[in-house]
Subunit: 481 residues, 2 copies
């Protein structure tokens, strides 16, 4: 390792030393975000926004393939609308930003800046849905939302964030439940196949469910510091909103019935998950399917004849083949400096080409994830890169799965639970009676929350680790972002 490299990489705090500082170093030094003059609001810089654009495209394709259409609903929600569903307003009112003045005048009714859009959307669905022929309604919107969080951290918890929110209405309870699960599975499949992040999927406890939902389903990921991160949720809203907003339809049998609803969303916090699952001591490690740059080309000694010409020809070829590729031909920085920068920025593949490579009609490929170096004949380049990106994806997923498995522990009773909390990090699987009292006690004593009741249940013991009563579910507990 050259002196230059050491100095450069030294800017990033080690994960072991201070995970939180490591995270902050990465997001700022790799130009993903910056702090803004608005408390708790972030600026998403082009490199970070590029990841979000790729997330959007991949998810949007999946939403459309499952029959959903995009729409756009107002940013402002009149206070009276927000208050209609009791649990919902209790959950969200403390976090609302209120507009009280507009056009130089005080408003007669305060407007909430949307923390989520169930209420405004329901007020429209009540108007649009009349007959069973109007169902199902399968809409989604991509937008910004505001929640007045006390402690914020870029991507993970910010005053304003970007997300998508799906809102659907169905004729029957079964259809709504099917939709809820279908979209959770879209999220899980997307997380695994696009973000290379393995997920634990399951149901939220009553305590942790969405304010106003009948039940909430979630996908939970484990970060390298052993904390969990809720990556996406899908809510079966039952008829809670349909009844208070009176969203009814005339069924085939001539009866007027209330619809059954779902809502589901993922946010820009997925970018935080990518960083904390895949990042390493050198910086970001981006999954190829969302990396804004998949291949960074660094020409070596490119003042020498033929190097830059060849590099440009290869660049055009890779671009035409559909790769997201960039050619770093800055003459203000050394090749070594560039290697370090693009490593820090997590670009999956570095392509080096120098005078000797031009002679041999080859290039050098270096993988970001395992630093493997390969000499590749130019004529095989497209296929090799295609396969290498697939392998990197698979490698990242497998590594993340191993990390999660090594940090998932089983507690058969409270003693084991305490011991794990004190000596280990990660998920703890334990049996639970289903009572909120036990859930509260674990939260109060250990700051661990029930992440979910996973679909894949195991019978670890007969009794709740907390109260000793009969156990109903196995639960994943963890500290969480």
């Amino acid at each position: 390792m050259s002196k230059n490299k050491q100095e450069f990489v030294a800017h990033i705090t080690s994960r072991e030393e201070d995970f939180s500082k490591w995270y902050t170093d990465i997001i700022l030094k790799t130009d993903l975000v910056d702090y803004s003059p608005v408390r708790g609001s972030m600026v998403i810089k082009p490199y970070g926004y590029g990841i979000w654009e790729n997330i959007q495209r991949e998810l949007d394709n999946r939403f459309k393939a499952t029959g959903h259409k995009n729409a756009y609903f107002p940013l402002f929600i009149p206070e009276s609308l927000l208050q209609k569903e009791v649990d919902h307003v209790e959950g969200f009112a403390p976090e609302v930003a209120w507009v009280t003045h507009g056009g130089g005048e005080e408003l007669t009714e305060r407007l909430a800046v949307r923390p989520t859009s169930e209420t405004i959307i329901c007020s429209m669905y009540a108007k649009w849905i009349q007959s069973y022929r109007d169902l199902p309604v399968l809409y989604n919107q991509w937008c910004n939302v505001v929640r007045w969080e006390k402690t914020t951290r870029p991507f993970l918890r910010t005053l304003e964030f970007l997300w998508q929110e799906g809102h659907t209405a169905h004729a029957t309870e079964e259809e709504a439940q099917e939709e809820t699960m279908k979209m959770l599975n879209v999220y899980r499949e997307f997380s695994e196949n696009v973000l290379a992040i393995p997920m634990v999927a399951g149901k939220k406890t009553e305590k942790e469910k969405f304010a106003g939902a009948m039940s909430t389903y979630t996908i939970e990921a484990l970060m390298q510091d052993g904390q969990a991160l809720q990556a996406g949720t899908s809510h079966n809203l039952g008829q809670h909103f349909a009844k208070v907003f009176d969203i009814g339809y005339l069924d085939r049998d001539g009866q007027r019935k209330h619809v059954w609803q779902t809502s589901w969303g993922v946010t820009t916090r997925l970018i935080g998950a990518i960083i904390m699952v895949h990042g390493d001591e050198r910086g970001l490690v981006l999954p190829p399917k969302v990396a804004p740059i998949q291949v960074i080309m660094v020409p070596i000694a490119f003042h020498k004849e033929g190097v830059l010409d060849k590099a440009e020809a290869i660049y055009e070829g890779l671009k035409a083949a559909g790769f997201r590729v960039e050619l770093d031909d800055r003459d203000t920085q050394s090749a070594g400096w560039k290697f370090n920068e693009w490593e820090m920025k997590g670009v999956p593949i570095r392509l080096e080409i120098g005078p000797r490579d031009v002679e041999k009609n080859q290039v050098v490929l270096v993988r970001r994830d395992n630093h493997e170096k390969t000499f590749v004949p130019v004529e095989e380049l497209t296929d090799t890169i295609h396969n290498m990106l697939e392998e990197i994806h698979k490698g990242l997923y497998d590594k993340a799965l191993t990390m999660r498995e090594e940090n998932t522990h089983v507690a058969h009773d409270m003693d084991e639970f305490k011991d794990i909390v004190e000596t280990r990090k990660g998920f703890i699987k334990a049996m639970w009676c289903g009572d909120v009292g036990c859930e509260d006690r674990i939260k109060d004593e250990f700051s661990l929350t029930a992440r979910c009741i996973p679909f894949e249940q195991e019978k670890l013991a007969d009794h709740c680790i907390c109260c000793g009563e009969e156990a109903k579910h196995m639960v994943y507990f963890a500290r969480a972002y």
Copy 2:
């Protein structure tokens, strides 16, 4: 025309009778938008949002091809930031929505819901730009903005709307001017080649320029009722913002200099322009490149053997060929009803297929713009549709250009000007001295504004039509949305 058709079409008010009512009928009956419970805010329904998605994709490709990257800046702007540039705050303060409470507490400083993002972006550029190596900065964002308008109309003027705003910083005045013109040309080219709307391009007068800009350039379109619509603007901000936000860079010569900036934007009001330029008595007429559905397939007598199978095979083939196609196989509506509905919704091509067509291995294509009917062998379908969409685009553009030319008048003096205002509609070209007094007088007397000083100047007369002093420019005047 069948009785059914007449009844159906009768729902839309005639353009001649009441253009404003015609517009409202179309946007509501074709499911583009709906009114919301928030005064002046619209809900963009999937059919309307689908047009916006196509506009976004076409523009975003052009922005990226010209070297721009997307980013995201906060929705909220602290009052102190908004107030930094004097002209800017004067222009926007009256229209601002203010957040005064968040998280259950009154804020110490009010937050503006962004009416535009120059100030928040400049506060970041001041931090990011240090050296000439950091320039140019070429960023864009897609987002929502809020302007507290008194009178609102869906798409044209709403409290909240969607837009993109480009914000760039450059080392020299020349580069900033070049960028300003480049992006105006992107807008003009896009309007003509995608929206099929001819534009008058030119410079805004001092009175009409953007609050805080050095100069504003615009593209102006003429609607069928003879009113103009500002479709996109590109601002050369000079160093107005750079100086108050102190955005400086160290130049090659060792001197610290302020940057030169531009900003440019188009909004969801483009959808209003599409409606008012191309729509007809039967409803919407959508330009093929932004139509959410380009080909609507209506099978005839599809209970008969083979029809639906054949229709589905054709549907899959057209989809695979990249067309936006839908198959209307609802059995709840007659074919005639469907013809009318899809005509009203402005789908460029209707494809009919019935038992006799299946026998002959052909389909019937009907153009929305001129109602021409063509029998096409199935094996020629892809090519025919491809060409027909091109022809429709060209037909729409030519028709719009003719409409504009027929409604563009020349006034050599004030008598002619008055006569035209009283008896005609549309653009009036007239000479102007450059004095705001004359501009004000024309606005006060006739409610006409100077739309722009077009790049293509003509010398119609020697003197200003208003004051008789020496004329400096030919100006396009019009009533405007």
